[in-house]
């Protein structure tokens, strides 16, 4: 069986292959180490029990939703405390509570956000502590 318009058809298939396998050849198959999050700030090392506001898996997946709730609680309802699932009460403050421990935005926040391509709008209002000092 003859392949009609052989040149055009093969060119089309080659273009399709190049486009469809883009992720395979773009990185040249080099293994990329997952981001290394630094949890060794002085504030965290001073903690007796190394625990975030909620559990680590919950925070990893839901921190952005928690922060939205916090923002609405403070800005719209004037509520300044948050009771975690385990009963601990935290002060609602990005700069005070979150960044109090995670004072290393570049080695903590940015590592994951750059890796997953998430660009949060936190810093269009909030100050970045490292940059002020």
């Amino acid at each position: 069986m003859k392949l009609y318009n052989r040149g055009m058809v093969i060119a089309g298939i080659v273009v399709f292959l190049i486009v469809a396998t883009f992720p395979l050849w773009y990185g040249r198959g080099k293994a990329v180490p997952p981001p290394d999050l630094k949890l060794d700030t002085p504030a965290i090392q001073g903690l007796k029990e190394k625990l975030c506001v909620e559990t680590a898996p919950y925070m990893r997946a839901n921190h952005m939703k928690l922060l939205t709730v916090w923002r609405d609680d403070v800005v719209r309802k004037g509520k300044r405390t948050y009771t975690a699932m385990d009963g601990r009460v935290h002060q609602i403050s990005l700069t005070g509570t979150c960044l109090g421990c995670h004072s290393n935005k570049k080695q903590f926040c940015d590592r994951c956000h750059d890796y997953s391509g998430a660009k949060p709008a936190c810093w269009s209002c909030h100050i970045i502590p490292e940059e002020v000092r």
Partner: protein
């Protein structure tokens, strides 16, 4: 069995969802995360090429002229170089219009009986929502590349930034997510609501739309309602493209359903109507120049016919014809 096509499609989607849920909580998740991605990708690529080659083996001996515009003829007759192209560049232009703007769907008409008389009018809704769906789908696929390459290319970040321009909610709502949902919902409701369309719709029509709706819905659920751990998701995707896949733990159940739908789409794609993605380029009414009057196109399987032309006839009988006083073309 008219009328059961929708039910069968819904059932197929439910079975897929349930098996994904079943897999999520068993060691079989290794299969879904590590083996199935490669199998699905190979079937997609292989099936795609198989279909294209199969089409390319069918001879198209004659130009199929569709009367969408005046063909090129005498210099003083104005021709339509894009609607009825006679050159390669014209064909490329027509194909680009078709692929990027769905030119022939723009010609869609509708007929209604007005006062016992059929009245024809233009119907652009299918064109509009079809175009909306396809472009949104493209943007979404391109945005997903952020999981497959590291560092993320600037153009992917730029695309995501434009897509989430209005910064509605946290995480940002992407406009393409809304428009893809609008497009698919229209295409689905159209088949449900119009009796004539419902009559001709088959399992494959409903299944394609429901599968895509399933993918979009699970994607939106993961982004806005049951967040998946993106760190694990990207580790997994990078594992696939560097051929060192590792099944992550605790990425969320919705992610398993999303993946099952996507792999089903990949496997089913080459053997379904969705192959119009490749087929559009091999459509004879779109990719052949309308040059029937300028060039002679020979049917490739014509049997060789032994012909005796007038010139040969004259050569053979020249002397006799001369003697009989018959007129000759060559003396």
């Amino acid at each position: 069995m008219i009328g059961q096509h929708l039910e069968i499609s819904v059932l197929a989607i439910l079975i897929l969802t349930l098996s994904a849920l079943g897999i999520a909580f068993t060691p079989l998740s290794f299969l879904l995360m590590v083996i199935l991605p490669y199998a699905a990708f190979v079937i997609f690529i292989g099936g795609f090429i198989y279909r294209v080659v199969k089409w390319a083996k069918a001879p198209v001996p004659f130009r199929i002229t569709t009367t969408c515009g005046q063909q090129s003829s005498l210099p003083w007759i104005k021709s339509a170089p894009l609607e009825s192209p006679s050159t390669v560049w014209g064909v490329i232009g027509r194909m680009a219009l078709e692929v990027f703007l769905f030119r022939s769907l723009f010609r869609n008409t509708d007929v209604a009986i007005v006062g016992q008389r059929p009245v024809y009018g233009s119907a652009k809704w299918l064109w509009f929502f079809g175009l909306l769906f396809h472009w949104s789908m493209l943007v979404i696929v391109l945005r997903h590349l952020r999981f497959f390459i590291e560092p993320i290319a600037p153009w992917i970040k730029g695309l995501s930034a434009i897509d989430g321009f209005f910064e509605i909610g946290v995480p940002t709502l992407y406009l393409s997510d809304l428009t893809v949902l609008a497009g698919l919902t229209f295409l689905f409701l159209r088949r449900m609501a119009v009796p004539r369309l419902r009559y001709i719709s088959l399992v494959t029509d409903y299944f394609a739309l429901l599968l895509l709706l399933g993918i979009v819905t699970t994607g939106l659920l993961m982004k806005h309602f049951f967040p998946a751990d993106l760190l694990h998701v990207k580790n997994l995707a990078l594992g696939w493209v560097t051929f060192a896949p590792a099944a992550p733990k605790g990425v969320g159940t919705v992610f398993y359903i999303h993946l099952s739908f996507v792999f089903t789409l990949f496997v089913w794609f080459p053997f379904s109507k969705l192959m119009h993605m490749g087929g559009i380029f091999l459509s004879p009414t779109r990719n052949l120049a309308n040059d029937n009057r300028m060039k002679r196109h020979l049917n490739p399987w014509n049997a060789p016919v032994k012909v005796h032309t007038y010139e040969e006839y004259e050569d053979e009988f020249r002397e006799k014809m001369k003697l009989a006083g018959l007129p000759l073309e060559k003396e």
